[in-house]
Amino acid sequence: MIPIHLLVINVWFGLEKLLLIGAIISFSLVVAMYTTFAERKIAGFMQDRRGPNRAGPFGILQPLADGLKLFFKEEIIPLTSNKGLFVLGPALAMLTAMLTSAVIPWGNQIEIAGRTVSLQVADVNIGILYVFGVVSLGVYGIMIGGWSSNNKFSLLAAVRGASQIISYELAMGLSLISLLLMTGSLNLKSIVEQQMQGGWGGLLGWNILYQPLAFLIFLICVFAECNRTPFDLPEAENELNFGYHQEYSSMKLGLYLFSEYVNMFISSAVVSTLFFGGYDIPFVDETTLASNIGVNLVALLGFLTFFAKIAFFLFLFIWVRWTIPRFRYDQLMDLGWKKLIPLALANLLITAVVILALNK
């Protein structure tokens, strides 16, 4: 028998999800835009410069000017390139960057006109698996772009990028398994809710306190997955000219550069969700606060807290980039395969033993 209620189209449900998707995508894009600005500004400050300060007060219109510049640049598609794939590359890079945002709980639910709306696009029970799946797809953007350009340097960079991302995905997954042993759930929302149960308004429940090593490994792998310094080998300017997007120009190049920042934003969100309690406000008990000032306000505060955590990680990305030089390729592989994976396995073993001992 066909469960008939699955066939009924709920217009309001569709509309509210559509609005949420639109809001999240535009929010991610704006944040990514201003991360480029923050990158340049903080780079300037760290090098005792002022950074961009000409466009608008303090240069806050700089990302708009950059975007406008990219749009007006001449679009060049190399004659010997594979045109279909050449266009597909940046689109895929951007798409996979945005896709991950679907499973991240951006806040608790809000109430509008009697309806409870969850601030999560898809509350799937395999959230983390989904994240891993989409992140692996991210290799295609780099690979297709580098290969279809028909350029030695692009191809080299793409191969580097692909092998780097594949190698670090392993350690990333292994470090998360020890976290999953504790939570017992792949659902991102329930992971956040578990962390909110801890003492001090949730602060003592944050996973970072129980899995610091897993956090460290995960963070390093996230840096590698986002192709950020010290793992920015695919775009090593001084050895590969520019990297896998060397033949790209105009907004296609813009999409590639931009997808890096979107990736940074989304992975910051994932790290804060998994290890730093997501939208949990420290020192505050959300349920008692909700009965005092209403659910919507608490959701807003929760979202702001979440955003503050994300902003910290974005700053960390930039901070590390302007501090640490790039790894050599063999060092990169050495770190990934010989250091991080055994470390993650050891962490997994210890976690398993401790959980077994505590449950008995």
């Binding site: 903080i42 400050f45 760290m46 005792d48 410069r49 002022r50 300060n53 901070w319 302007w322 501090t323």
Partner: protein, 184 residues
């Protein structure tokens, strides 16, 4: 064969200790340094809004001087052109006609006075050579131009504004000259 200098040193390359091979302490140290730099004073000057003050002996663009009544000091004697090591100055003399006494201070004046700013080395010898206090070097430098012709400055570019008719610009152009003369 012995060493020519005693500057060479043998480098000691010890294997990394466990603490060093973790890398993380060194990374945190580096991050602390970069973080500290964020709050340091920036040496940059926001150029068009803020300008670095020139030193009192700065030698910039030339100014042809007038006296208090607005008459040109220059008598086209040519001493500046002779003194100029870069041969940047050319001039043509003319005789003052009756009725031009309010324009030129003495009977002879420079009808044409040109300085090629591409040749000029801003040494200030013209200022030192001038017996009439007619030329001096100011506190501005020559702006950029698209052609070489644009760097040949004529009288219209060099002459100081009229002290009575255009008092405001005259004061600006004169700058801190009086002060400098007093300091000498």
């Amino acid at each position: 064969m012995g060493q020519l200098t005693n500057r060479s040193r043998t480098l000691e390359q010890k294997p990394l200790t466990f603490w060093e091979s973790l890398y993380l302490p060194a990374i945190f140290k580096g991050m602390a340094i970069t973080f500290g730099h964020m709050f340091k004073k920036k040496p940059t000057i926001n150029y068009p809004e803020q300008k670095r003050p020139f030193s009192p002996v700065f030698r910039g663009l030339h100014v042809l001087n007038r006296d208090e009544e607005g008459r040109e000091n220059c008598t086209a004697c040519g001493l500046c052109a002779v003194a100029c090591p870069a041969e940047a100055i050319t001039m043509e003399a003319a005789e003052r006609q009756p009725g031009e006494e309010n324009l030129y201070r003495e009977e002879k004046y420079a009808a044409k006075y040109e300085i090629n700013m591409l040749r000029c080395i801003f040494c200030g010898l013209c200022e030192e050579a001038c017996p009439k206090d007619a030329i001096y070097l100011s506190e501005t430098f020559a702006p950029s131009d698209f052609t070489r012709k644009g760097f040949i400055y004529g009288k219209e570019n060099l002459l100081i504004p009229h002290p009575i008719k255009d008092k405001e610009n005259y004061e600006v152009a004169k700058g801190q000259r009086e002060q400098q003369i007093k300091n000498k």
